[in-house]
Symmetry: C2
Subunit: 284 residues, 2 copies
């Protein structure tokens, strides 16, 4: 999916959020906003939005002299998500269809996205997602395909979302390879965070090699690209991975909440929609 | 009210909207977005948001070589608002408190703001505003004050909003001076548009002298500034005029819908709130 000019105000919003997260004074916040504004002219629109986000955020990391400016908020958000584990366990225990409920909870986790949303109410999200009508709901296809699949790749997205991914993978109850970003990029999950969350207890955790906030195949390591090509089924979490992979013909199920107008318009849905969508369903 | 960095993503959104209104190709749209990004560094944060909006939009006018790039959409929006006149008349005829209903309708008109909102549903807005609970509602104070007032100034905001202003002024039924911007700025009302709408049939239409999208006193003409200082009561429409005048001690009633987070936060309300608020009420 090609980048879109509507993403530019959002890049600026992310910049300001990052400046405030970094406890910069207002004058310095202004300078960093100016800096992002000055980068626009260097952006090539023939790239995906994750590539542009990477370009901006890697420049911001250099500017701030900080390789992981979201480190603190990632830790806070993981801790917050983990306080909800007793509630989530109860929801699963009470559920008559645990795979479905865990899949939906994994989508609830997708709101913890500091690229697209700056604020979220996780408890409200959990309550909503469990019973919501999904705008696209290929869950029954997914249930069939996952039973047959031998090599399953799970593409992680945001760090704290991993808490929910782990619960879903437990319900899949099959060998799963869980892929993260290569380095910290916005609040996306990395190998060390996946391990801290304990995803390595339920899956093989690997880096995709991608240093950008979306699994764009050409930016993955050759080894991981091979894994992607050979996978029977790929679970892709979130908007960044959707933007990275929606033009491929890989056997993907996209799990996401459409949190911005650009993504909602691209899929042809309302903003806020929950999506569990098989890739290239009509061509299958 | 001092400008805020949160306005910057919005300036970029306005730029993109303007580029699309001007039917520019995507490559040229990108150039104009880059151009606005490059202006940020020249912006002084010790100014009000209307001053910064003026700086950006006057640069955009030069860039586009177009003194009034919103001309067409202003005409479209006025025509659209005028098709609602029979419905509005019926609402007023059926109302037992015509001044109150007309005041609320004037606030409904405030959604036609291409600075803050790119889309609106006027019919829905009218239905909502007539019976809505206002977040701040100083209407009864306003009713008392307007009865006593001898010199009333009405500060217009968006062009098509003037259709609703005219109806309200008819109900005020007193001599009113209706002030517009000096030149076209975003979709704000000017003297010639006020006359096209027929506001000159119910009020004395004047230019405030302000070439920016808000009646910041120091940017008004000396004559108009004197009028403001001598007014018994000022009706100020919209966010731009609120940003321009909220720090003054003038006898103002602010009529607006809080359409963006910055304004909502400044007043201490939720976004989307309707406001009919006396200035400096607590100091009166």
């Amino acid at each position: 999916m090609k980048a879109c000019l509507d993403c530019f105000p959002c890049f600026l919003r992310q910049t300001l959020h990052l400046a405030r997260l970094s406890n910069l004074e207002e004058q310095t916040q202004k300078k960093i906003v100016d800096f992002t504004g000055s980068l626009f002219t260097k952006i090539d629109m023939n790239s995906t939005s994750p590539e542009i986000a990477h370009f901006i955020h890697s420049n911001l990391k250099d500017y701030l002299k900080n390789d992981d400016p979201y480190a603190e908020i990632k830790a806070t958000n993981v801790a917050k998500a983990q306080t909800l584990l007793p509630k989530i366990s109860k929801i699963l225990t009470d559920s008559s269809d645990k795979l479905l409920t865990a899949a939906r909870l994994a989508i609830a986790g997708n709101v913890i996205d500091l690229g697209a949303c700056l604020e979220y109410d996780m408890e409200k999200e959990i309550k909503s997602v469990v019973s919501a009508k999904f705008a696209i709901d290929d869950f029954e296809l997914f249930r069939q395909d996952i039973q047959k699949a031998k090599s399953i790749i799970y593409l992680g997205d945001n760090t704290a979302e991993g808490v929910f991914d782990k619960i879903f993978i437990e319900q899949i109850n099959k060998p799963v390879t869980y892929a993260t970003r290569e380095i910290p990029v916005i609040n996306d999950i990395t190998v060390d965070w996946a391990k801290k969350i304990g995803i390595d207890e339920v899956a093989t955790v690997v880096s995709s090699g991608a240093k950008i906030p979306g699994t764009v195949p050409k930016f993955c390591s050759p080894e991981f690209r091979k894994k992607l090509e050979n996978a029977d089924l790929i679970i892709s979490k979130g908007q960044g991975n959707y933007e990275a992979l929606s033009d491929t013909d890989l056997p993907i199920y996209f799990f996401l909440k459409a949190k911005c107008q650009v993504i909602a318009d691209h899929i042809g849905l309302k903003i806020g929609s929950y999506i569990l969508m098989k890739n290239n369903k009509d061509n299958a």
